[in-house]
């Protein structure tokens, strides 16, 4: 083995992987099993460095599975030595199986990560290209871990908190493990209570009605408008199509006070109809913009043929344009549905009557010191699950909608 920048970089990335692996595994063990584990960071870091050093012992071409096996064992031995046999600050007699699994997982993860980063790297002096390669690979790997953690952790906490009870939560906030022996009834206690005592079934219904109606109204308004902008010639056409998105830069909060004042006096404030007037107004411009872009891309010859054959303009739209534009309609509908479902500001300002609360408004009403927090989280889960299911189901359309319309958020 030659000693050079390759070894130095290898040791550094090894340190990093070891640190990440031991910290993540320790925290995950605690969160999932409820064990009071405190990972010894230095043990993991050293294990990672040892692993990298063993891999770099041989030139890239000569690395055998046996070498990786030795490197794998090296992590375990180094960790055990540094932490005096307790890498999670737990006596090994305590849940030894889980601990052994944790250590094995760390060693495996570190070996794979080091192998991926150092696959064609030797220990001697490296060229600039190879150094960059190591840095980029390390950054990428770190990015995967980082983004996965920041995205998964909040959602994991949300779901698990909703399944616990107040006492356990206060006793040990780290213990998010679920006691599956308690039976479904007590596990889903918060959900049952929300649906029976807090009227969440009704909120769910109102949210669905409001969102679906918003989609229908938006389509009814934007389809003819988009067609006119895309296909018909009229004065001011270009000005209109380029300025329609300006509406998007108007802050909703500026509209709240006048709308609140006017809707109060008209008696529209505390009503579903009031919401159904406001929501489409915010979604129609962008729906129109997205649809007109799609309509322009459709072949005009088909429509002209339809006109020749005696169809009216409306007939052409209904029988030719819309069937061709189904993917775009799906994108727009999903995107509008998402906006309406997630809308908070106007629901919060306008609705006082619990009989017509949308889910967003209903979850806010749970945010008080009298309502236990697992109820609040259960409410959050109820609001999130439908939209995430729809999103995963129709991901392709929604992603198209997001990119085409540049959703406001």
């Amino acid at each position: 083995m030659r000693i050079g920048t390759g070894l130095l970089l290898g040791l550094l990335t090894g340190l990093l992987w070891g640190t990440i692996a031991v910290a993540l595994t320790g925290i995950s063990l605690t969160l999932i099993t409820g064990l009071p584990a405190t990972p010894i960071i230095s043990a993991g870091a050293l294990g990672g460095a040892v692993n990298a050093a063993i891999i770099l012992l041989r030139a890239p071409a000569d690395r055998t599975p046996g070498l990786y096996l030795v490197a794998f064992a090296g992590v375990i031995i180094a960790m055990m030595l540094v932490s005096f046999g307790a890498p999670f600050s737990l006596a090994f007699s305590e849940s030894s199986l889980i601990q052994a699994f944790g250590v094995g997982l760390i060693a495996l993860a570190v070996t794979f990560a080091n192998r991926a980063v150092l696959i064609d790297i030797q220990s001697g002096m490296l060229k600039r290209y190879a150094i960059d390669l190591v840095i980029v690979r390390t950054l990428k790997g770190f990015g995967f871990v980082f983004f996965s953690v920041i995205v998964i952790l909040p959602f994991y906490v949300m779901v698990m908190t909703s399944l616990k009870n107040q006492q356990d939560l206060f006793l040990n906030p780290l213990d998010l493990s679920i006691d599956l022996t308690q039976g479904a009834a007590s596990l889903f206690d918060s959900y049952v209570e929300l649906f029976t005592k807090f009227n969440f079934g009704r909120f769910l219904l109102i949210s669905t009605i409001v969102s679906v109606s918003t989609v229908l109204i938006t389509l009814a308004f934007s389809i003819p408008g988009a067609y006119a902008v895309a296909r018909l010639k009229f004065p001011g056409q270009t000005v209109l199509s380029s300025s329609i998105l300006l509406i998007y830069l108007v802050p909703m909060i500026v509209l709240v006070i006048p709308l609140y004042a006017v809707f109060s006096q008209l008696g529209l404030r505390n009503t579903v109809v009031g919401l159904l007037i406001v929501y489409p107004a915010t979604t129609v411009p962008v729906a129109l913009y997205m649809l007109q872009g799609y309509f322009r891309g459709l072949p005009a010859e088909l429509e002209e043929a339809g006109l020749m054959d005696g169809l009216s303009r409306l007939g052409v739209i209904w029988k030719i344009t819309l069937p061709l534009a189904l993917p775009a309609l799906a994108s727009v509908s999903l995107y509008v549905f998402m906006i309406a479902w997630n809308e908070f500001l106007f629901a919060f300002m306008f609705l006082d009557d619990p009989d017509i609360f949308t889910l967003s408004r209903g979850v806010v009403s749970l945010n008080s010191s009298e309502v236990p927090r697992q109820h609040l989280m259960a409410g959050a889960v109820i609001a999130t699950v439908p939209i995430l299911v729809i999103f995963l189901w129709f991901e392709r359309f929604l992603v198209q909608g997001l990119t085409a319309g540049s959703v406001k958020g």
Binding site: G143, P173, N342, L359
Partner: protein, 437 residues
């Protein structure tokens, strides 16, 4: 935006005489107008009209309670025995103004008396025609209570089958001055918000939040897009996962963060303590400043504001990620191959090929996200309610208008937001036009 104005852009196919449309073209334009009319109406009514109305409200001394206009309230009493024929009794109307500070004018009260009752003395303001009673008052000042008395007598037929005169509800109407439509104006709202020391700190917080929130979301998005640029197994799953923070309702993720970062029994604080990073729970959303030692120099780090900015970056990185990824996929691989042959390292390729290609989308995203973050209300309102040095202009609108019930002052802050936004928009269009050319 008015479609009837600019006729200059009628295309070459239209008749040669400028400004005149042929009958076919005119029909087409009329059809287009009809098809656009619903969109126009709803946008006018719900977006443009409120924008203007906001200016109007900002120069009005209007509070939340003014939205309930003063109304006259009446209750009817009967004194004396009306069931005995020939006995005189008194009918009283007690009038009250529901508001303590709004006058009511032209108050008219009408009531129907049961058959068989004759009014002997209708009092000064009431007249009786048949069974109909009609009383008119010139005005009912704020908070005033008054009684109208009538003396009446019942006859034999009534006494045989008595019904209370109270059974028929009196109706009352009046005109009150609506603060929203009268011609009383004031500049107090603007004086109040600009005089307060608070406004400038709110402005400062808004700008910090906007700049760092936008940059954070962009940098995270760029990082994530780099990771997913090359295809690998499970890429679409990861992409879907990365979009979760953006797709989930703000209400759910905001409350999750609040509970996750709870200083006493939040999971994140428990992790920090377990890893011996922090000695005691850190109140991320409640603590304004935290002293940090940097080389012996103690600086106050705005903790709550930084946490809110972190939330903003977390929630909106998926959007920039999606756009940057879409743009990166469209960069032709030839350039990278050529660079590879020339010996350019991965970091050099990123710096000299990817980044210049992405500059357009990055600057557009920056400006759009800048404006949207500036307009953002929900996130901070749900996370901190504007406490601990996180109050932005948008939260201030709510605070002034609804928490302090001074709609006028709230509207004044909204006007300030709108004007700042106009400045951004002008800048944006200048910038975009330069991009195009």
């Amino acid at each position: 935006m008015a479609p009837s104005k600019s006729t200059a852009q009628t295309p070459a196919t239209s008749p040669p005489r400028k400004g005149k449309l042929g009958p076919m073209a005119r029909r087409e334009a009329r059809l287009a107008l009809w098809m656009l009319a619903p969109t126009f109406l709803i946008v006018m009514g719900i977006v443009l009209f409120p924008l203007l109305a906001n200016f109007w409200i900002s120069v009005k001394p209007v509070t939340l309670s003014d939205l309930r206009p003063p109304t006259p309230v009446v209750s009817e009493r009967v004194r004396g025995d009306f069931e005995i024929a020939g006995q005189e009794f008194e009918i009283q109307y007690r009038l009250r103004n529901s508001s303590r500070d709004g006058d009511i004018t032209d108050v008219v009260l009408t009531d129907t008396l049961p058959a068989g009752i004759t009014v002997i003395d209708p009092g000064d303001v009431c007249t009786v025609t048949g069974a109909e009673v009609r009383c008119t008052l010139d005005g009912l000042p704020a908070g005033e209570r008054t009684r109208l008395k009538m003396t009446a007598v019942s006859d034999e037929s009534f006494a045989a089958n008595p019904v209370s005169p109270r059974d028929s509800e009196p109706t009352i109407t009046g005109t009150s001055d609506n603060i929203l439509t009268n011609s009383e104006f004031t500049l107090d709202n603007f004086a109040r918000i600009f005089d307060s020391h608070e406004f400038w700190s709110v402005l400062w917080v808004t700008i910090t939040y906007t700049v760092f929130g936008t940059l954070g979301a962009l940098v995270l998005g760029l990082f994530a897009a780099q990771m997913l640029n090359k295809p690998f197994a499970g890429r679409s799953i990861i992409r879907g996962l990365f979009l979760f923070p953006y797709v989930a309702p703000v209400i759910a993720v905001a409350f999750t963060w609040v509970i996750l970062l709870d200083p006493f029994n939040g999971t994140f604080n428990a992790i920090l303590q377990r890893m011996n990073i922090a000695d005691e729970g850190v109140n991320f959303f409640g603590q304004r400043d935290i002293p940090i030692d940097v080389f012996g120099l103690t600086i106050d780090f705005p903790l709550a504001l930084a946490t809110v900015i972190a939330f903003e970056a977390w929630r909106y990185f998926p959007l920039s990620f999606l756009f940057i990824l879409a743009r990166m996929q469209s960069i032709s691989s030839d350039m990278y191959e050529a660079a590879e042959v020339d010996g350019a390292t991965p970091l050099q390729q990123f710096w000299h090929i990817s980044l210049p290609q992405l500059l357009g989308i990055l600057s557009t995203l920056f400006l759009l996200r800048f404006i949207w973050t500036f307009n953002k209300f929900d996130d901070i309102f749900l996370l901190t309610g504007g406490a601990a040095g996180t109050r932005t202009l948008t939260v201030d609108v709510y605070e002034q208008g609804f928490a302090l019930s001074n709609l006028g002052a709230g509207a004044a802050v909204a006007v300030a937001i709108f004007i700042l936004l106009l400045v951004f928009a002008v800048f944006y269009f200048k910038f975009v036009h330069r991009e195009d050319s």
